[in-house]
Amino acid sequence: MRKDLVFGMAGSGGDGIVSAGDSLLQAASAEGYHGVMTKSFGSQIRGGESSCRVRISTEPVLNPGGNLDVAVALNWEDFLKFGAELPVAGSTVVIYEAATGVPENQIPLVGVTPLQVIAVPIAEMAKSTAGTERAKNTVVLGLIAGWFGIGGEAVMKGISKKLAKKSQELVDANQKAFDAGVVFAKTHPLKADMTVEPSKTKGAVKLLTDGNDMCAAAAIFAGCQFFGGYPITPSTEIMQFFTSHVWKYGGAVLQAEDEIAGIGAAVGASFAGRKAMTATSGPGLSLKSEMMGLASIAELPLVIVDVQRGGPSTGLPTKTEQSDFFAAAFSAHGDVIRPVLAPTSVADIFRITVEAFNIAEYYQTPVIVLSDQEIASRKETLDPIDTSQFKIVNRLLPTGSDLQDYKRFKQTENHISPISHPGMLGGTYLASGIEHVESGAPTNSGSVHARMNDKRIRKFDPLKERKDLFEITGNPDAPLALIAWGSVAGVCREALQMAREQGLDVKLMVPYLLYPVAEQTYRDFFASVQKGLVVEQSHLAQTFKVLRMHLDLPKGLQSLARSGANPFLPGEIVAALHHLLSELQRSHEGKLQPQE
């Protein structure tokens, strides 16, 4: 019996493999399992190659997993397009469509001998039972239920519920296809037992959603009443969620005429006193940069979600990458600090989004939430979140005495000035992108500019002291270290576990606050570090470079960086740690000594 299984399935859009993944995850979560599902697509709107990776576990899941335990190929051409996204290893059971005509001993996977390879006449079974080859995905679900014990009744319950509105005939057809899959599995047992242990939490209430929906829900919970945006993959679902729900809370949403107008409307809404948000991906972030500068100098709270995809330019619209760190921290001209936060999972994008609003409102600043395609589109099962434990921060409004002689940009001890909004008697002022004095009146004085820059930059000092925006796990005095953020953090969490089980003395830092760089927190973390890796999906190693720009890094800290759409596997990170350790041992002739 297994605690954990990773499925990777690929086919063309017409094979419905992603729908199958959805059904599988839903069924598993209904049975009380933890799970994560990620999707990856070709660039066609319909019918391109598509794949999903579903990880089911009896324990909470940290990431979509490494090598596949089960690979399902409805055709090889599409499966191979996903390369390292669907890694097959010696421990993998490979199931594929017999109609491809490929013999079981000649599957086109180079340099690997899977645990078992089974050709299944999936299309034929679909046709003979449901009457259409389109039911292939249902046959696959039956195979999975039969071989791995996941989803049995729950899958068909879910499918029936989804299709009941259409016709009973359709439900019956699917049932037949599903049953055929189960029967095939039972009559062709696997060499090794790969069934999953029953869930320990059967019947417990679980949430099932993806990063984009969770992000939007968190925003509404945080009090966001305005969303301005423009459709762009892979962030659009955030706007869609708003269009369904924000009205209920007295808010509004605008699908604007372009990216600039989207953020512009949000800037306007914030000026009008409402919590506001926009969401986009790389190309949109580039377009929005001027407005982000405006929000910074006008000191207006605003949350900007950037769901990263491969760049530059159109890049890889449907694949994940971590290459927007520079743009998030540094785009828009002028001397400015714009906080950048990064969630690592569907579960914590809730907290990070709420935190982003709190920081935006408290510091009166635009805040960027750097999500990524993987977090945005992956589905996770989660334990319910107790929203009452979250504090909601609202902007500092002027008091009656502030309004006696109101100065919008008044210098204060903590550099934060009470902010009025239209409709507030006594609070009228001119907000502007041009430099201004405390009252808001425009100026071109160099000394005022220096003072105001100082105010706008130093107000963030306390943010850099926030230890709760960093997760440090493992032995705090370990000589080996990992640093990773965003969706890569989940892989490193698992690598940390594996490495420690293998006796490595290692620790992991996951920064949720990427910018401003919290120098002291890193210095403290680095104190024991002799060797380490900054792991990221950016060819330029943007995170490593930003850290180097702000800090003296330990000599042994290295970059493990690569382009997006080439996922890291926990195993390779552990291997890299072993390598670092052997280097360390060589240099110290077998005994670990603290570095000078």
């Binding site: 839903q26 979560s29 209904a30 209430v205 679980k206 949430l207 959603t209 929906d213 829900a217 509404i220 919970f221 009090g223 305005f226 301005g228 009205w247 209920k248 809370y249 007295g250 808010g251 509004a252 605008l254 604007a256 005429e257 600039i260 107008a261 512009g264 409307a265 800037v267 306007g268 809404a269 914030s270 000026f271 009008a272 006193g273 409402r274 506001a276 001027e290 407005m291 405006l294 809730f350 319910p384 979140i385 929203t387 009452s388 009025s420 909004h421 239209p422 409709g423 008697l425 006594g426 609070g427 009228t428 002022y429 001119l430 907000a431 502007s432 992108g433 041009i434 009146a441 425009p442």
Partner: protein, 293 residues
């Protein structure tokens, strides 16, 4: 149209202490005066007015009023103004800027505010030149015009702001000019009172870079009052016909006023909010949406 003698606010209540940086003789001095007067006639307290602009000489205008002002970035007065109006429909929202701001860098936005019919009044101070950057060609500069970026004469046809907004279906389209301050104040007032997107093109001469023919004297010579021409402002096609003469004639007054104003976007939003908030779960329970049974 008679002014109300017991009006709560006077023009001076809308005038701020900031000293304009405009060149003496600039048409915008009259425009801001017209705005003060229009606002006083309507009588909305300054703190309930949000006045948004982009970048350009004319975009300095919100700072010269006592309203809540926002001097934003080049070309983006309208996107920001619409966010303000949708976030708080109770506010009176004005947007202003120059011809470059509105019809060049920000030219893509007008069409969309018009089709949404957001209740914003947009005042363009059209001077056919980029003044702030010292006299370059603008989207409304006449073909053949020599400027510092067209030393051999412009090869481009100008945008026709009036036809542009009429074509997109704006509910209120008018033109004014400092040649007639009283008329301008009345038109701005009417534009603000119009329920829906209202556009006023204001021929406001640039005294520093403007051509001789586009100064007050020249404008007076080509100006004609639309009401004295017998134009019926309910007739959109007739308005479009007259608007063809932009650049040759200066037609002052209301080109088009939709006799049956369409519902505004901001009003429709309110209806939707009211309808959908009735049975909404508290936002603390929004995650219940994700519970799978």
């Amino acid at each position: 149209m008679s002014a109300n003698a017991t009006c709560e606010f006077q023009a001076k209540d809308y005038k701020s202490d900031l000293k304009p940086i405009w060149c003496p003789g600039c048409g915008d001095y009259s425009v801001v005066q017209g705005i003060y007067r229009a606002l006083a006639a309507i009588g909305r307290p300054p703190h309930e007015v949000a006045f948004i602009s982009g970048i350009g000489c004319s975009s300095r205008i919100p700072g010269y009023t006592t309203a809540y002002g926002f001097n934003t970035v080049h070309g983006r007065a309208l996107p920001i103004a619409q966010g303000i109006k949708l976030a708080n429909p109770d506010l009176m929202v004005l947007a202003a800027g120059g011809d470059g701001d509105g019809f060049s860098i920000g030219g893509g936005h007008i069409a969309h505010l018009i089709r949404r019919n957001i209740d914003i009044t947009y005042l363009v101070m059209d001077n056919q030149i980029y003044g702030l950057t010292k006299g370059q060609l603008s989207p409304t500069s006449q073909k053949g015009r020599t400027t510092c970026t067209s030393p051999y004469g412009s090869l481009e046809n100008p945008v026709n702001p009036l036809l542009y907004v009429l074509a997109y279906g704006a509910g209120f389209v008018a033109q004014a000019s400092p040649t007639d301050l009283a008329g301008m104040a009345a038109i701005i007032e009417e534009a603000i009172r119009f329920p829906g997107f209202a556009f006023v093109n204001i021929q406001s001469p640039c005294v520093t870079y403007g051509e001789e023919a586009q100064q007050i004297k020249g404008l007076k010579a080509i100006s004609e009052n639309l009401s004295s021409l017998g134009h019926n402002p309910a007739d959109r096609l007739a308005a479009m016909d007259l608007a063809q003469h932009y650049g040759e004639k200066l037609h002052l007054g209301v080109f088009y006023r939709n006799p049956e104003p369409a519902p505004t976007y901001d009003a429709l939003i309110r209806e939707r909010q009211a309808a959908l908030s009735k049975d909404a779960p508290p936002k603390e329970r929004i995650l219940d949406l994700f519970i799978k049974k």
